[in-house]
């Protein structure tokens, strides 16, 4: 299997054009609703519908992690191993979006894919998915995205450094790339039972496909970069993929940079690294008319959603630019860098609302 799966066209262009024409005519019949509003009653997963999926099963992995099997809509395009998908699910009636790494084998014949979710304390969506979600639930989807993937030219030697749910994209890679022959996986989890995919990983190790190093942090403590270097002496020769908490990734990035091999390290973050917070202020959405008080630590996206404003959103960690809106006037602070962006009246400085907090009053064109 190769990493670059050809993207199939969802429907033949000619057919698609015809379908769109028919739907436009059908709008005359259904106005003010759209034909899709009625078609959704019949088949929410059909081709041409907003991309959705149906949860087919929730399979427990550990005491706080589960694999969610999702049957995607007809327009779903196969992912590349290591990529993540954004899922919008209603929790207590409120639509919430989160990104999860895809863990399934591309060779699945049932047309489903899986994500594996670890319930984090206080995490609304992760707890809901792991503990309360019932098969049959319809969820909203985006196409898979992300660059935490193997290059076309496979590395001879690979190292994966993961912690907690950071194993999920790596599992997606290991399951789909049996051609990797020299693999070291260093994984941290509190106890042996907390290792997500523990049995499968140990089996891979027993079969000689990977060298598995488990660090059980409840007893052995956290693994630092020096200890890692001792565990993997040929670290510099390996292409390395790391996924886990921000602190771990930073330590690795420093170590790799110090060794002059920063280009050999690929990292995947689940959450933005919040560096600084500012003073907050009144955020006004000029088209929508909503004004709200936001503190200097809360992304504008979160504050607006809390106030009932329908916001564009994406990865929620500052990479996909799906949440960008024009700042017409005022100042916002990038929570990752502390950098303040200002706009004079009438400007349209594009800002990422998911990682920007108010740094004084600001008007946003939305």
């Amino acid at each position: 299997m190769t990493a670059t799966v050809p993207r199939p066209t969802a429907a033949k262009p000619a057919l698609r054009v015809l379908r769109d024409r028919v739907l436009r005519v059908a709008e005359l019949v259904t106005t003010p609703l759209l034909p899709a509003d009625y078609l959704d009653l019949i088949d929410p997963l059909r081709s041409g519908a907003a991309l959705r999926g149906r949860i087919e099963a929730v399979l427990p992995e550990t005491r706080d992690a589960a694999t969610v099997v999702i049957r995607p809509g007809a327009d779903w395009q196969p992912h590349r191993p290591g990529q993540y998908v954004r899922i919008g699910i209603d929790v207590d009636g409120v639509r919430m979006w989160r990104a999860y790494s895809i863990t399934s084998d591309l060779g699945r014949t049932d047309g489903c894919f899986t994500v594996t979710v670890k319930a984090i304390p206080g995490g609304k969506v992760s707890n809901h998915l792991v503990r309360s979600t019932r098969p049959g639930t319809i969820v909203q989807l985006d196409q898979a995205t992300g660059d935490f993937c193997l290059p076309e030219q496979r590395p001879d030697k690979a190292l994966f450094v993961t912690a907690g749910s950071g194993i999920t994209p790596v599992m997606g890679i290991l399951r789909n790339h049996p051609e990797l022959t020299d693999v070291v996986l260093v994984h941290s989890a509190p106890t042996p039972d907390d290792v997500v995919f523990g049995a499968e990983l140990r089996q891979l190790a027993a079969d000689g496909r990977i060298r598995l190093v488990e660090q059980h942090t409840d007893t052995a403590g956290m693994l630092d970069a020096a200890a890692l270097a001792a565990l993997v002496p040929d670290l510099a020769e390996r292409a390395t993929w790391a996924c886990g908490p921000v602190g771990m990734l930073e330590a690795l990035e420093e170590h790799w940079a110090a060794a002059g091999i920063a280009d050999r390290l690929y990292t995947e973050r689940f959450r933005p690294k919040v560096l600084v917070t500012g003073e907050g202020g009144t955020v006004t959405f000029t088209k929508n008319g909503t004004s709200l008080e936001a503190d200097g630590a809360t992304p504008i996206l979160d504050a607006a959603e809390e106030a009932g404003v329908l916001m564009p959103s994406g990865c929620r960690m500052g990479i996909c630019y799906g949440c960008v809106l024009p700042l017409r006037e005022g100042a916002v602070r990038d929570l990752r860098t502390g950098e303040v962006t200002t706009a004079a009246p009438g400007d349209g400085v594009l800002v990422q609302t998911c990682i920007s907090a108010a740094a004084g009053a600001c008007d946003i064109d939305h």
Binding site: L28, V29, T30, L41, D90, G93, R95, L310
Partner: protein, 403 residues
């Protein structure tokens, strides 16, 4: 009726400013209680209503393809009327209030919803949510009071033109959606001030015309055409369903603020109004309709008009649950919780429309015995010289006051 501030038996005279603020506090708590418990069952409710509406509409439209067959015409017209009522009241009105924005579902959101109505959602939200709900029952501020074409208060001077009020109120009720569209455009005021050339007005008028065009084309052209030989029967069915829906929504809205005994307020009374005072105005300026659960749903829960006006953005399915608490609050503070069955409220509202179409006191002074002489006086009041008219109007008011 006369504005509350001019009444001799002011119904809020017994309340101290502290009382009013305490009422406000209690209401804030009731509101918070619902906000904190909004959740999955509420979301399921609105999705269910939307689902039911779409299925009834689809089913009715399908049945109406055979509208030449009388039982199909009757069943289809009833179904379509119910669908249109559900769509306007429990679904459209409430979504456009932002009652369901908290779900963050872009398909059920006040900023994206469009409804089966002549008035574009955007314009209606401004005139309804901002003006009517903020200035509820304030004479001269709340255009919902008589929609600018009616005499809604004794203190408005009577002129003969108002004799036509019952008739044009009925015509307005039949074509209510167009009345609302004109009213959202402030068409009357724009024409009176000769501002029809204003580009902003033109832009909005165009929006309305485009919307009406789509609506009319759907109900009176496309669906009849789809019915083939039953073109005329389907057109008649759709027309009937629209009239039924219009009469229904007009009745519900009349019941909300127009029955006898609902208070109105002076413009200057709302200067510097506190939150507690605003709440109190909503409490006294609204009236409920009592009835079955089905009736509540078909009125879009505007049968809980008092609760709706206190908390316009709470999900409508929760009004019934807080109504007993609100009623208890009214009782404890000696206020009149105005509620009655639908026929009674509609009757009361129409009684008021008729009473105010006549000079002050005329209806009250008229008995079966003096009817001929009263009619003669009314004739003189309508056609006589200004001096005669004024004298007669004064006489009627004095007679009523003496009685």
């Amino acid at each position: 009726m006369t504005v509350l501030q001019k009444k001799s038996d002011n119904p809020i005279e017994h309340l101290t400013p502290e009382d009013i603020e305490l009422i406000g506090k209690e209401l804030d708590e009731i509101r918070q209680g619902v906000m904190d418990s909004r959740g999955e069952s509420d979301a399921r409710y609105i999705r269910k209503v939307i689902d039911v509406h779409r299925k009834i509409e689809l089913g009715s439209r399908a049945v109406l393809l055979a509208s030449g067959f009388p039982p199909a015409w009757i069943a289809g017209t009833i179904g379509l009327s119910i669908a249109k009522i559900l769509e306007n009241m429990e679904i459209g009105h409430n979504i456009l209030h932002g009652q369901w924005d908290w779900m963050r579902d872009p398909k059920i959101h006040s900023t994206t919803w469009e409804w089966d109505m002549a008035s574009p959602a955007e314009q209606w939200k401004h005139s309804h949510n901002e003006l009517h709900h903020t200035y509820t029952n304030v004479i001269g501020k709340d255009n919902d009071l008589g929609y600018g074409i009616m005499r809604v208060d004794e203190d408005q001077p009577w002129i003969p033109m108002y004799l036509g009020q019952p008739l044009w109120s009925f015509i307005n009720a039949c074509f209510f959606e167009y009345g609302i569209a004109a009213y959202d455009l402030e068409l009357g005021a724009v024409i009176a001030k000769k501002q029809t050339g204003d580009p902003e007005f033109r832009r909005r008028a165009k929006q309305v015309l485009v919307k009406i065009g789509r609506q009319v084309r759907k109900d009176y052209l496309i669906h009849p055409l789809l019915s083939g030989p039953n073109f005329v029967a389907t057109l008649a069915a759709n027309f009937t369903a629209n009239i039924v829906r219009n009469l229904w929504s007009n009745s519900v809205i009349l019941c909300g603020h127009f029955p006898e005994g609902v208070e109105t307020f002076e413009k200057k009374s709302i200067d510097g109004e506190t939150r507690g005072e605003w709440y109190l105005r909503q409490m006294l300026g609204s009236a409920n309709i009592s009835g079955s659960k089905a009736m509540h749903i078909l009125t879009g829960n505007l049968s809980h008009q008092i609760e709706h006006h206190l908390f316009p953005d709470l999900p409508s399915n929760r009004y019934a649950e807080i109504a007993p608490k609100i009623r208890d609050l009214f009782d404890r503070y000696g206020l009149n919780y105005h509620t009655a069955p639908l026929p009674q409220q509609v009757g009361s509202a129409w009684h008021k429309i008729i009473r105010l179409s006549l000079p002050n006191g005329w209806l009250q002074n008229t008995t079966a015995r003096n009817l001929p002489s009263q009619v003669a006086k009314l004739w003189k009041m309508t056609t006589g010289a200004p001096k005669v008219r004024r004298a007669l109007i004064r006489e009627q008011a004095a007679m009523a006051a003496a009685a």
